[in-house]
């Protein structure tokens, strides 16, 4: 008798799901990824596209800041084919920004984020469309990525190592052993309109903002997750080559980032009930233009090309999304609810997707008795196009 590979079903083909598939496939698991839509159809596809240097969190959320700079450097190395690696600037426009600058320098040092103060004249030479009234500027190793292609590159590499993708396939419920333990998922293939079951040795709930809904299907109603949408507005001119951040406590409309022939301004932070459709709120779109134009006045002469909402999965239950940390959390439901066979990963940021997957795969492998180490820090990822070219 040959020992079969343990089978792990991952729910969700967003950043966390595809990175976990990649990690587990490298460690020798048979992996099936199910998603009700195509790759990255939820929050992941709709991210800003900012590969964080960690500078944004260096003062108030240093754990996230350190995760960001570490993962930023890894992703630049393993998946350069989806990244505009041009760096970023934090700029000060008033006294409050200048005051924050002192704490920013200390925080960046504490989090080993390489920053450099440059003169306002030098900043304007680098980025002529900056507000000419800027008072101070720091360079940071920010970058921009293409959201779908980042997810596809992980998925393609997972596929090349045997992972199987069931897209347009919605999880309708869990298969259990009669004692509440999870042994697989019941699915609805929406493309074929057919219902079926997929058995698994372990199921990973990697559904981000939707993780609470999926955990509830397994009988756990209390997952501490706060879905927190924010607006993003794309403009039809590439007005900078670097990511431009306001040098202050993270707030609304304080990041402008280049992407292809556009710049994208974000974002806001509020809470909602219905996750499946978040309407674009017109006042917030106007706010992005006004706040963004403080950094880049030429935005006023650009046209809006698109406006959209993305819903962050923030871990914890708090009064304000801005006060919740951007770190991630992995829940072994055996430990917390006595449900064997189900692990949930949520929270985090696009920038930390690989680290989230590593932590999740560590827990899954430990539970399955797999000792293979994580290899994803060093394995270069395939072209995003290979996801479509490789056989499933």
């Amino acid at each position: 008798m040959t020992a079969e590979k343990p089978h792990v079903v991952i729910i969700g083909a967003g950043f966390t799901g595809v990175a976990t598939a990649h990690d587990l496939a490298l460690r020798g698991c048979a992996v099936t990824v199910v998603d009700r839509g195509p790759i990255a159809n939820g929050t992941s596809g709709r991210t800003h596209g900012l590969l964080h240097s960690g500078g944004r969190y260096a003062v108030n959320d240093q754990e996230s800041a350190i995760e960001c700079i570490d993962e930023n450097l890894i992703l630049r190395r393993i998946v350069p084919q989806v990244i505009e690696p041009n760096g970023g600037l934090f700029i000060a426009l008033d006294d409050s920004d200048l005051e924050y600058g002192e704490r920013f320098i200390e925080g960046s040092q504490a989090c080993h984020i390489p920053i450099e103060q440059i003169s306002p004249q030098e900043a304007l030479r680098l980025e002529p469309n900056l507000n000419p009234k800027l008072l101070a500027a720091f360079t940071v190793p920010d970058a921009t990525f293409d959201p779908l292609r980042l997810a596809l590159s992980f998925a393609a590499t997972a596929k090349s190592n045997g992972a199987h993708f069931r897209l347009f396939t919605e999880v309708e419920g869990f298969i259990t052993d009669g004692q509440g333990n999870v042994t697989g998922v019941k699915v609805w293939d929406r493309a074929q309109d057919a219902h079926g079951e997929i058995h698994a040795d372990m199921v990973v709930n990697a559904t981000g903002a939707w993780a609470g809904q999926i955990a509830a299907m397994a009988g756990y109603e209390g997952l501490p997750i706060t879905p927190t949408p924010g607006v993003m507005v794309a403009f039809d001119q590439r007005l900078t080559n670097r990511v431009i951040n306001r040098l202050n406590v993270p707030g609304d409309g304080d990041i402008v980032l280049p992407q292809r022939m556009m710049v994208v301004v974000g974002t806001t932070s509020f809470q909602i009930e219905d996750l499946d459709y978040v309407p674009v709120i017109e006042d917030q779109v106007r706010q992005m233009l006004e706040r963004g134009a403080e950094l880049i006045p030429a935005l006023k002469t650009a046209n809006i090309r698109g406006a959209y909402m993305a819903t962050r999965p923030l871990v914890g239950k708090g009064s304000s999304g801005r006060s919740l940390a951007r770190t991630f959390k992995c829940f072994d439901h055996k430990e917390t609810q006595g449900i064997e066979g189900l692990v949930t990963i949520t929270g985090g940021k696009a920038t930390t997707m690989r680290a989230m997957a590593e932590k999740t795969a560590d827990i899954v492998c430990q539970k399955l008795g797999i000792t293979a180490p994580c290899l994803t820090r060093d394995v270069p990822l395939l072209s995003y196009r290979q996801f479509y070219i490789l056989p499933n």
């Binding site: 195509p38 990255a40 159809n41 505009e84 959201p147 493309a191 007005l239 556009m262 072209s383």
Partner: protein
């Protein structure tokens, strides 16, 4: 209060081996919303079986290409008021010249294979994009920074191309534009498409250029590739003399 319209989406439906048909959904919309927003709402509130592709919602990923009232559009940046009126209809169908997975989603593996084959570069300095001078998008300056390529591989050009409709072996506008982009840095790359199913099959309809949401201008690039290939042949003759 913001303006509201009542419009009807006529949506192409296809499941497994069942014959295709259209379903109608009446929606209350803002004319400034995008066509994709309405489609997502149909899925969220009217019919959970609707299959459609989308990811970035701001024209960087190329996933949401469809035919809207007969014309290829990137639905995430197509405002409703540009394609219908209050009380009007929006007919949405999948892209042509690709196999339909279900409803509004198509399988574009062939496009990605061809993009890979011609060596189209996904991140490069704008100087090597091959955009003709004077056609730079907006106020973008040449700067030497690396930047994601203009082509978002959305497939609109292959859907609109009359030659792709009749000749499945024709590489199609996106891949030929990709070969042109590659040939700016490496002139040898042009030879990859110097054949009957490559750059010489195009009939200059320029439908590709008219539907491209991303300023790639495949029609111009195909013509420019021909010029480059002919020049190098003529130079070759003189070299042999």
């Amino acid at each position: 209060m913001a303006q509201r319209w009542t419009i009807t989406y006529e949506v192409f439906r296809k499941k497994g081996s069942h014959p295709p048909h259209f379903d109608r959904f009446k929606l209350d919309v803002s004319p400034d919303e995008y066509v994709l927003d309405g489609i997502e709402r149909i899925w969220a509130f009217h019919d959970r079986s609707l299959v459609f592709s989308h990811a970035c919602h701001h024209s960087t990923c190329g996933a949401c290409g469809m035919r809207v009232n007969g014309l290829e559009k990137l639905t995430c940046i197509t405002p409703i008021h540009k394609v219908t009126r209050d009380g009007g209809v929006i007919r949405v169908e999948p892209l042509k010249n690709f196999p339909v997975i279900s409803d509004l989603s198509v399988d574009m593996s062939l496009l990605y294979q061809r993009m890979e084959m011609v060596g189209q570069r996904s991140v490069l300095p704008i100087e090597e994009e091959g955009i003709p001078d004077g056609l730079l998008y907006g106020k973008e300056q040449k700067s030497g920074h690396l930047r994601l390529a203009d082509c978002i591989e959305c497939g609109l050009c292959m859907s609109a191309c009359p030659i792709s409709a009749t000749t499945s072996s024709y590489l199609g506008p996106a891949a030929l534009a990709g070969a042109h982009q590659h040939s700016i840095a490496d002139p040898q790359a042009a030879s990859l498409v110097d054949h009957a199913d490559g750059v010489w099959r195009c009939h200059s309809a320029f439908e590709c250029t008219s539907v491209c949401p991303s300023n790639v201008n495949p029609g111009w690039r195909i013509m420019d590739l021909r010029k480059r290939l002919i020049s190098s042949r003529i130079l070759g003759i003189f070299r042999r003399l």
